[in-house]
Symmetry: C2
Subunit: 104 residues, 2 copies
């Protein structure tokens, strides 16, 4: 797990807060969040950038948002031939979920 | 639960994405995230704004950030006498956690 204890466990350290805030920021845009859910729900857990076109924004905008999600660590990417394939980084997303889990 | 199916269930609708993006945005600032964890971990699940002072920012800044968290629905507040008391909104935070839960 990249980070952090559940929020009910105590005040986050400055370092952990900066790390997690950057991840939440990556999901703070509606288009980016829809793209993220699209990749996450794709058959096989992987989406080719070439398959992602019907989200109401241009292809360069799609690529820009996917790059932001990758930079935040929420997606991983791999180039195969002409296309880049994106996949959710399960441990990172699980860490965000666990941090907000009030049942822990 | 205010919103949404887990991200692996399919692409989020535009309306759901806007709703959830606003919540993630509320947690996208390190100071706000630390304040949030501080309230969430307070004894009794409730913190008086008068108790929150040692986070490295001024009291007006603390109030500003707590207001943002309240507006996003992540905290509830109640004025009692001189002070405002903050509490985590469990169903909202649980919804964010569940949405990112890849195990579902």
């Amino acid at each position: 797990m990249p980070c952090c204890p559940p929020i009910t466990a105590g005040e986050l350290s400055q370092a952990d807060a900066e790390k997690m805030a950057a991840m939440f920021k990556a999901l703070s845009d509606p288009v980016r969040l829809r793209l993220f859910s699209k990749v996450a729900s794709y058959a096989g857990g992987e989406a080719c950038v070439c398959d992602i076109s019907d989200v109401g924004v241009s292809q360069p905008t799609v690529s820009h948002h996917l790059k932001k999600l990758r930079e935040a660590g929420l997606l991983t990417s791999e180039r195969r031939g002409t296309w880049v394939y994106y996949r959710v980084a399960p441990s990172v997303v699980a860490a965000m979920s666990a941090m907000l889990d009030l049942r822990i």
